[in-house]
């Protein structure tokens, strides 16, 4: 038996192809939306994985350091390091800033890391690999930048009050919002985050000196001590903990919470915070978009197939008159709808792959999402064709005779 659907498509292949391309662009937009969601999840996952930590110790009762502000003293690690099961600790400070570079503003996350042991890969929080350059070796004014910042090796970049030399480049080090990271020594990050500018410091000192509670004639040194504490940055956002082999993360976290009056999150809990809580609203937003796009796609496919079928009323009437069974006519329409879906999906997948990297945020197109998308597109096409099939089966063969 002749494949009527195939012949019809070949006969008007240009129209069919352009229709498929149009549909494909819509499917491409849908796949990209899914890719944006996956990218957000992956950003969160990458943030967790690249920190090299098994536990995140943060200010008590907060969801820090990524989802909520957290501030703990930078000597808290001493007590944590003594708990059984803890192999290594590393202070870390995180701060998202707007950085001027190459004539435009770039949003970056500054990550302060301890740089005292570069030869062993650094403490938790340091970038796990470099694509160029070397680790930070000095205690100040060196930086490792993610490639997406646009910074080059050896380039000097101004962050707040100081210039930093980019000594290393890394890749796929992003915040949960997808902003590229710049790693700097912890002390610098603490200054960037907690220290006030010079004018503010002068004002603050004058205010403290004018406060009789801190400027007591009978207690020499009190004012200096009070002012020193104001001008020192002694806080970090989190202590990252690497566990000893075989240590139970839940148990160690429990110990830290019990004895140190801090909150400790395991990897699974941090994933839950980043994926389920931090991007929950965005995920719902994207989910709504995906549903709407799926409905729009279904409506468009239904409309296209319906219009294509109505354009063949006479041919279908003749086919019915000369004895073609309903399943042959329905099969023709269904095959065309599926062919349109295949073209649309291929075009959409290629389009999403082409324009995905141009998006400012990471777009992750997973093969399993593509497979699910393909199955959904085929299902939508099959369902959408049912409207046209109903119309075709209702065509009276007498229409071929006229009168």
């Amino acid at each position: 038996m002749i494949n009527l659907a195939g012949r019809d498509v070949l006969h008007g292949w240009g129209k069919f192809l352009f229709t498929g391309i149009g549909l494909g662009l819509l499917i491409g937009a849908t796949l990209t939306m899914a890719g944006v969601f996956r990218g957000m999840v992956d950003d969160g996952q990458v943030l967790i994985d690249n920190s090299g930590a098994d536990l995140w110790v943060v200010q008590q009762g907060t969801l820090g350091p990524y989802a909520e502000p957290s501030s703990i003293r930078d000597d808290a690690w001493r007590g944590i390091a003594g708990i059984q099961g803890v192999a290594e600790t590393g202070n870390a400070a995180y701060l998202t800033i707007q950085m001027a570079h190459a004539g435009k503003d770039t949003r970056v996350m500054i990550v302060g890391i301890e740089v005292d042991r570069p030869e062993t890969g650094g403490r938790p929080g340091a970038p796990p690999y470099l694509t160029a350059g070397r680790p930070i070796l000095q205690g100040h004014y060196e930086a490792i930048a993610d490639e997406r910042t646009g910074l080059a090796l050896g380039e000097r970049v101004k962050i707040r009050r100081h210039d930093y030399t980019v000594v290393g480049l890394t890749r796929r080090m992003v915040s949960s919002s997808g902003d590229p990271m710049i790693f700097v020594p912890l002390k610098d990050a603490q200054e960037i985050q907690f220290l006030k500018d010079n004018d503010a410091l002068v004002n603050e000192r004058a205010r403290t000196a004018a406060n009789p509670a801190f400027n007591r004639p009978g207690i020499p040194g009190l004012l200096e001590a009070a002012q020193a504490s104001v001008s020192q940055a002694r806080s970090v956002n989190t202590v990252l903990v690497r566990l000893a082999p075989g240590a139970d993360a839940e148990a160690v976290a429990g110990e830290i919470q019990r004895w140190k009056r801090l909150t400790a999150y395991t990897k699974a809990q941090m994933e839950d915070i980043l994926v389920a809580k931090l991007i929950a609203t965005s995920a719902k937003q994207i989910g709504m978009f995906l549903v709407i796009l799926a409905i729009v796609t279904a409506a468009i496919v239904a409309f296209i197939i319906y219009t294509m079928t109505l354009a063949k009323v006479r041919e279908i009437a003749v086919l019915k008159l000369i004895g073609a069974k309903n399943r042959i006519i329905a099969g023709m329409i269904l095959q065309q709808a599926l062919a349109l879906g295949v073209i649309g999906f291929l075009v959409g997948r290629i389009a999403a792959g082409l324009w995905g990297p141009a998006f400012p945020k990471y777009v992750l197109l997973l093969p399993q999402d593509a497979l699910s998308g393909f199955a959904i597109v085929m299902t939508i096409c099959a369902l959408a064709s049912s409207v046209a099939i109903r119309a075709a089966l209702a065509i009276d063969p007498a229409e071929a005779i006229g009168g």
């Binding site: 038996m1 002749i2 009527l4 012949r7 019809d8 070949l10 006969h11 008007g12 006479r314 041919e315 003749v318 086919l319 019915k320 008159l321 000369i322 004895g323 073609a324 069974k325 042959i328 009276d396 063969p397 007498a398 071929a400 005779i401 006229g402 009168g403």
Partner: protein, 239 residues
């Protein structure tokens, strides 16, 4: 005509068709009697609204008559109700259609337009295409076998449509104003072809027409007026 050896190709007795009900009822056919023998080409003429198309649709098993009896090649297909369960198969296997416009399938080439019918009847593609080429040869359009429908002239398209109607060896062909879009010469050519085919394949052909050019060519003519037919002898002029 081998009228003693074979049953009539078509035999209608008191065929009626009513559209609508109650006050809105219209009797399109009021008891049509008609007998057509294998190998005959018969004209069916009448003014607009006389019931020609309704009769053609009843004969083509496209609409159901209201009452009466229809026999096709000796088999009762309607006797106050359809006696054949699969009307689509009946149309496919035993009735050929030729329309005013050829109504070929535009996305199939000439051969496949003709071969489609045997394929729908279950023949394999090779046999169906062989049959199609035989018919295209008989109708003198073999040289256009691989062409697209849109590349054919009106006369060639009509010949292909006639070939399609014969593809399943149907004992009856219903031709609805097959010469309407053609000039005199081509119209007479189509009638000659129909007569040749009727003789060659023992097919009964009913030609519904208004065309004054071809009416004199019929040996028998059924006039239809107000839903009733009466038969008269035609001139049977040689073409």
């Amino acid at each position: 005509m081998d009228r003693l050896d074979n049953p009539p190709a078509i035999c209608l007795t008191g065929l009626k068709k009513r559209y609508g009900t109650g006050d809105a009822a219209v009797d399109a056919l009021k008891g049509v009697d008609m007998t057509i023998w294998p190998g005959e080409v018969v004209g069916l003429v009448g003014p607009s609204g006389s019931g020609k198309s309704t009769l053609l649709k009843c004969l083509g098993a496209v609409i159901e008559p209201t009452a009466g009896r229809m026999e096709l090649a000796g088999e009762v297909i309607y006797d106050d109700a359809w006696k054949i369960p699969d009307l689509r198969a009946l149309r496919r296997d035993r009735i050929g259609f030729v329309f005013q416009a050829p109504y070929l399938i535009p996305f199939l080439d000439v051969t496949d337009n003709v071969a489609l019918l045997p394929m729908l009847a279950g023949q394999d593609n090779a046999a169906a295409r062989k049959r199609a080429l035989e018919l295209l040869t008989a109708l003198d359009v073999r040289h256009r076998a691989g062409a697209q429908v849109s590349q054919l002239s009106g006369g060639e398209q009509q010949r292909v449509a006639i070939a399609r109607s014969l593809a399943n060896h149907a004992p009856v062909i219903l031709a609805d104003e097959p010469t309407a879009p053609l000039d005199s010469e081509r119209a007479l050519t189509v009638v000659r072809i129909l007569n040749d085919l009727a003789r060659q394949y023992r097919t009964a052909i009913i030609v519904v027409t208004h065309d004054e050019k071809i009416i004199p060519t019929f040996k028998r003519i059924y006039h239809i007026r107000d839903g009733r037919t009466h038969e008269e002898a035609g001139e049977g002029r040689a073409i």
